[in-house]
Symmetry: C2
Subunit: 405 residues, 2 copies
């Protein structure tokens, strides 16, 4: 049995590079930038006002005071989209709106609240202005040519805003990997069919489809296949046309485990089977002609944990993502945790903040049959190999299972 780290190294070494495509900006949220993107234009593109007010020559207001206000003639107006086109004479001020372009000789803006315009097209200033007051310089936010997005960035709504602002209507992104999902097992019944004695519902495939989508892949559920060699081989061959094939069930040591045999006979080079982890030890990984094949334990908790720990990093690497692993946070445990094995353990936990610290407790029974633990919990507690019994208050690493927003 190999270690979790060794398994991950083998998987990541086998990941082929991302393919690239263009998408319209509007559809790019959640995609991964395939290349560095540089600003095509300065942001802001020209000197403009950050307030509604008056554009002035600050030198002309040097002596302004409440006792001896300075009066300037109103030369006209500049607003967003309507720059002042006239000649900005000495001794004048320009009405300017937020975002309005400053005329060449003006070097400061006085906010409308601290100036007083009189009816006869003139305005009084009762204090000085400093050069640069309320003026945004061209490129002061993002200069033209600056890298605004790095290859491998996950594109958020804010990225789309910056791309649009710098003149990009299209983004070059990684193609989403096609991920085929096959469930194996004579015991499995669809949720909308009568169950029958000794049978259980197929549930892992539904969770996997959602997890694949959240991880940037394009899932395709191929259906339930019975524990018959020929049927499994047929499904495997079809699944190998995709970028990733996920097969649940049929990889433990039971007599009915035909999956390994089917994979070998379909030309899949099995790189490892069984990893020193709990839950999820019967994890299998192989490669066939650029397609990554994962045999995931059929138990829904094991399916979820092995997906998060081994398949998600592979999908992220395939997308060229520059962050493959979730942040780990330190948390203190409420109550002791008994550890009896040398495996790396992933416990389902409930984390909360208390003052400046994170605290975490387990969801209760850690049997991999306890599907509800993935709902009750909001994090995985990761105990490295060789961890011994932990007293209450010990620090552990956790990874959030869902958005703590």
């Amino acid at each position: 049995m190999i270690s979790a780290d060794e398994a991950l190294r083998i998987i990541l070494d086998a990941v082929p590079p991302a393919r690239k495509e263009n998408v319209a900006l509007r559809k790019a949220t959640g995609r991964t930038a395939a290349e560095d993107i540089r600003a095509g234009e300065d942001i802001p593109p020209f000197r403009n006002s950050s307030m509604d007010g008056y554009a002035v020559r600050s030198s002309e207001l040097k002596a302004a005071s409440p006792e001896r206000p300075v009066r300037l003639a109103v030369a006209g107006e500049s607003s967003a989209g309507h720059p002042f086109e006239g000649h900005f004479r000495k001794g004048s001020a320009l009405r300017i709106m937020t975002g309005g372009k400053l005329p060449g000789p003006a070097d400061a803006v006085v906010p409308v609240e601290i100036a007083s315009e009189s009816g006869n097209r003139s305005v009084l200033f009762s204090r000085p202005a400093l050069p640069g007051d309320f003026v945004r310089r061209p490129g002061e936010d993002i200069p033209r040519g600056q890298r605004v997005i790095a290859a491998g960035d996950l594109l958020t709504p804010y990225h789309l805003g910056v791309l649009a602002a710098t003149g990009h209507a299209v983004a070059r992104v990684a193609v989403r990997p096609r991920v085929c999902i096959v469930a194996t097992g004579d015991e499995l019944v669809r949720p909308d069919r009568a169950r029958g004695a000794g049978r259980i519902r197929n549930s892992s495939s539904y969770a996997l489809e959602g997890l694949v989508r959240e991880s940037g892949g394009r899932p395709r559920f191929m259906g339930i296949v019975r524990d018959r060699k020929k049927a499994i081989r047929k499904m495997v061959r079809e699944g190998l046309a995709s970028d990733v094939l996920l097969i649940t069930g049929g990889v433990s040591v039971g007599l009915h485990d035909h999956v390994r045999e089917a994979l070998s006979r379909c030309g899949v080079d099995i790189r490892f089977w069984r990893v020193n982890i709990r839950p999820g030890s019967p994890l299998l990984f192989g490669v066939s002609d650029g397609t990554l094949v994962f045999g995931l334990p059929g138990n829904p908790v094991s399916t979820g944990v092995t997906f998060l720990q081994f398949v998600r990093p592979a999908l992220r690497k395939m997308l060229g993502r520059n962050v493959l692993f979730p942040s780990q946070f330190r948390a203190l445990i409420d109550g002791p945790i008994a550890v009896k094995e040398g495996k790396r353990c992933y416990l389902r936990g409930i984390a909360r903040q208390e003052g400046d610290l994170l605290r975490v407790r387990t969801t209760g029974s850690q049997s991999s049959g306890v599907m509800s633990s993935m709902l009750k919990g909001n994090c995985l507690i990761i105990l490295p190999e060789g961890t011994t019994d932990l007293p209450s208050g010990a620090a552990v690493n956790i990874e959030f299972l869902r958005d703590p927003f």
Copy 2:
């Protein structure tokens, strides 16, 4: 000017209740449960084995020891989907696979690793078994009738797994609100057109579309409308057919701000305009016949901040979501923060973990013109009204801007 809390109260009070619809389980990730959902079946549905091994009567192995092993006849086999149908005689053991159904009289499973089967259909046990060993009881994970999902839960992949496992093929969810987005401003140019002097790119609409989608809404970008009363009124009337109308720009005190007038003339009851926050103070909110109308400042940073603080909670409430606000975390600031105003401030910050604590620093200039701050930052630092200058090391509340996974 009203306070942020008052603004939020007015907005949330105006939110109409969620409408409901059914969706296939496969399409339900990211949707919001509209009703409580109870398990239709026990999980697990019958007594089954949590290991590959042998099902036994534990009473028959009481005296088993390495010196005096107990031999039982192999009665047959039970595997997932293939329960044993025969008579389970005394003095016999049953080969059983993980998930296999236990025959009535068996009360324990002995893992295959600690039993030794000989060729003549018998198996030797060299230690006792306890009743219940490696046996999963029906309903021990989730008993039939238990609430597995609460109205208002955001459906994650794990929820879908549990729904499928308990016999649900369809989920009752909240209808996604239709959100129309209108950008106003003579200065705005699409990212794929020549820019022209004194003009800037429309960027907020792209960010808003992504933010609406992430918040569970269905965005529709209606386009850029020029600062002309009639054109704005036409767009407003069209937008009022949706559940939410977001209009960016045109709500500050400038001369060209026709939006408020257009809204009033279209029958929108304006509930507030201007909030004591920074950035984003020119926020406007109104209601027309069940449609919520937000006038958001056009500056992209202000658009983003006001969306997160005021529009997202409204969308979540409209969906019936049971969590309206993101978790706030406590973090210690690196370096002092000068606070000069009585407003609630939202600074863009960069948070990181150091040992057991979170630390945060600002992204630099907090001018609302600095669009790059939403990319550099990973959180908002929230300073309540009346905060005075903060020394380095002071504790502040932060909200993550993106997934810290």
